[in-house]
């Protein structure tokens, strides 16, 4: 779901770009937070809690809570709610705490 019109705010969106989420092609607007693009595309689960593996979604939206940590271009623990979307990004759901050795 995206707001196209708002009584007070105006939206200046970047150009439309493509990226992948767990290998699946997706589209979003350049410069918007990765998590926003995912949310608009219907992806609600961004990570899982470490102990009970319960789903975690878009939560604090300001880069604090670690609910949205994902692996982006093989960089683990990226705060996708604040990280701007760039053409061709490979966004992956992270299992566990994130690997520093490339792919999960």
């Amino acid at each position: 779901m995206r707001l196209d019109e708002h009584p007070i705010l105006t939206f200046q969106r970047g150009k439309e770009v493509s990226f992948t989420h767990d290998g699946k092609e997706m589209r979003g607007f350049e410069g918007e937070p990765i998590a926003v693009a995912l949310h608009a595309a219907g992806v609600k689960v961004l990570s899982h809690s470490l102990v009970k593996h319960r789903p975690r979604g878009f939560f604090c939206a300001i880069g604090n809570c670690s609910s949205c940590l994902m692996t982006v271009n093989e960089m683990p623990n990226v705060r996708t709610c604040t990280e701007p979307l760039v053409e061709g990004m490979r966004v992956e759901t992270q299992e566990g705490r994130g690997s520093l050795l490339g792919k999960d």
Partner: protein, 382 residues
Amino acid sequence: MKKTAEVVVIGGGVSGAAIAYNLAKRGCKDVVVLEKEYLSSGATGRCGAGVRQQWGTEMNLRLSMGSMRMFERMNEELEYRGDIELTQTGYLLVAYNERQWEQFGKNVELQHQFGLDVRKLKPREAREVVPCLNIDGLVGATYCPTDGFCNPFHVTQAYAEAAERLGVEIETFTTVTGIERNNGGISGVVTDKGKISAPIVVDAAGGWSQEIAMMAGLELPVYSERHQVMITEPVDPLFAPMVMSFQHGFYTQQTPHGSIIIGMGEKDLPHDTDVRASWQFLHKMSKLITWVLPPLEKAKVVRQWAGMYNMTPDKTPILGAHPDLEGFHMALGYSGHGFMIAPMVGVLLAESILGLPASLPMDKLDVGRFQRGELFVEPSVV
């Protein structure tokens, strides 16, 4: 707070707690521990948490190996309701020049005489222990699989609770402001919450131990310097042992939780009790550690802190009674490795205070060695 005690221990770190417990265990239960903040608030709670047995002198080997045996059964011995989190995943000591490697060879020979399982590894074998290790310029490494790390907060808490069960009183947020003397001895300790009359004082005040000694009119050849540590966010297991280099002065370990602790001794530090963190350390440390362990490039540092090393001229602790003041005992000047030998120090200090036979002769670690010029040279210190 009590008005009188048999022994007052100054310092609520791991040393103070261990000494108090060991005194009480040996029947001396009228003990008060004074801590100016909370337990483990000084160097104990700020340390790198490593417990290493790979030392280069007989004394340190016996202290550290004896302490490891005690860490191994500490949960049971102290009937601790928690867990001290001992993890024996080894220490990998890396040598980047021939001279160091030669010294490592001598150390290993001595360590083998004491029955410590230590292996000398070629660079490529070191990579089998730590696969992401950069072996450029590495001459060799030594690995002791029973070294490891342990939670300093839990260890201190375990000792403190066991001591309290035996009758020891622990007063936190109580600052010592003076030590009173009478003819040749000690008569009491003055705090911001009142005075305790006591004939025996133990200075286990870590970074402030020289200030405590000054209150008793004693000048000790020790000083404090700031050492910093940083920690990353938790990540998947990357390496198991503590990795340590004497040449660069760094040490790093991944905690069971997954975060990676990285510390380093800096050169030419001011001698003071400053424990603020600096951005210069963050910069220097990150540069060095990403060279040694390249995957750490992708880890984010979440926190940084500092603590004090209480340094002696020979980087070896001062243990035992002071010859010039009856009743003044010292467990200080650990020079950065107090936590790992605290269990043995607790036993030795209690024995020495109570005049019991010593489990280990520690007279070589007395304060008089500096005047006699008999420095205790330990080749393996960061």
